[in-house]
Amino acid sequence: MSFDRLPARPGLGLKPQHYAQIIADKPELGFFEVHAENYMGEGGPPHRYLGAICEHYPLSLHGVGLSIGGQNALDQEHLQRLRRLVDQYRPESFSEHLAWSSHDEGYFNDLLPVPYTSETLHRVANHVDQVQQVLGRRMLLENPSTYVLFAESTIDEVDFLDAIVRRTGCGLLLDVNNVMVSAVNHRLDPHAYIDRFPIEHVGEIHLAGYDETTDEAGERLLIDAHGSRVRPDVFALYRHTIARTGALPTLIEWDNNVPGFDVLMDEVRLVDDVLAGTAEQRLAS
């Protein structure tokens, strides 16, 4: 089946433990998202299942390892691997992070923060240009969750993302949980962040659950954990976002302590209610 874009409906991250159930039950869902790097093996069951699932659902390919915010040049080998996946599965969306994860010592398997300066803006924009050129398509860049600030930063995060969009023509992936995590961690107003965000460029929304701890001063420190239900304050912020943007493809991310598929579908129904509410509002107005 071919789709031209992700529908403005809820989607789920695809997990191997749910492959068989999804193929058997064909749950009501707008799309599935996979981490690109998990499908960079040469063959075998992961590709067989993904191929079968793509017959029925639009696909969002979400990279976690390209290190777009890295000081070093982009890993061309990795970019080619992404290209092969894009050519093979023709996903309706490709997204990556405003972060870095590789340096000379190797790959760190985490999304590390980038300072916001004219120098890093130039570098990230160049990297996004390269990705879009090699993949032959527009990508979405995701706002990060961060735990520290850079003293050297001179540009606000929303302005930084907006400038990347203007320079490269890329779209944005708005992770509402990341907005909450960073806003609480850096004592900013999450609603103000959403209100300033260039929503006309948002192609997808992410939702996830956070964990909570404290920093050295004993103040709240939220961790982007992807291991629980979406927290109520993030859901409220999501409603606020959707009221502004209208319905958008919305992914529930749950990567750690992955629950049974029914629990994920409970989360999907909550998202569905928010998106349906927007549709009703639009009909009424």
Binding site: G43, G44, L66, H103, Y107, N109, N256
Partner: protein, 253 residues
Amino acid sequence: MTSQRQFTTALIDPGRPVPQGLVSPRGTPDAKRFAVYRNNVHVSLVEAVAARFPVTRQLVGEEFFTGMARVYVGENKPQSPVMLHYGDSFPDFVAGFPPASTVPYLADVARLEAAWSDAYNAADHATLQVAELGAVPPQLLAEVILQLAPPTRFLRSRFPVGTIWSAHQARPVVIPAVKGGECVLLTRPAADVRVTVIPSADLAFLEFVQQGKSLSEAAEAVLTSFPDFDPGAALVGLAGLGAFAVSQAGASK
């Protein structure tokens, strides 16, 4: 300016202070904030190793395994964002990890698990069917050079690792009383990986086939060490398990 080199140096060495220029909203360095990154890296890499070596982990328990994996992760960072191959060197690390020496078969179980995930992710390729072998005229069969199917892996152990591994695929785990070494073959005859304990002679035969010997050369080489070896039975058995690829060379002869 905080370079990514400064960041990563502090990331992998918990003894170092927070890199200069990284601050909390109060404008001061905050070790607990930076520790989130250290923890994310460490925990996610340990989890990646645990996910690839689940039986190894069950054999020593979660606490011991996590401690061992932490040491491994500290010394071995992934060299690629494709994490499917992370842990290739873990079995050797286990073999040389002194506290694990009380479980002498642990490293070989880890080898089997590394081979399992390699077989799982290997390229798709049609496997040679027994019927296709039967279609080759007997006088030509001896000269056929077979290729192993991409997922085919095998290992030889002084311990019954195939039995130990298989016992951990069911609940409750009941390990049969077996002694002595085992040779284990991993194949992907259809959709999924299959783990089979095979005779030592069959494994030797596979090794010779892998080296590019023709079927008759491989059989003769095995017979020097295993006089009772039955090449025909071994060939049919191994082909039935999906060990061989359909190769142009084999088909055209």
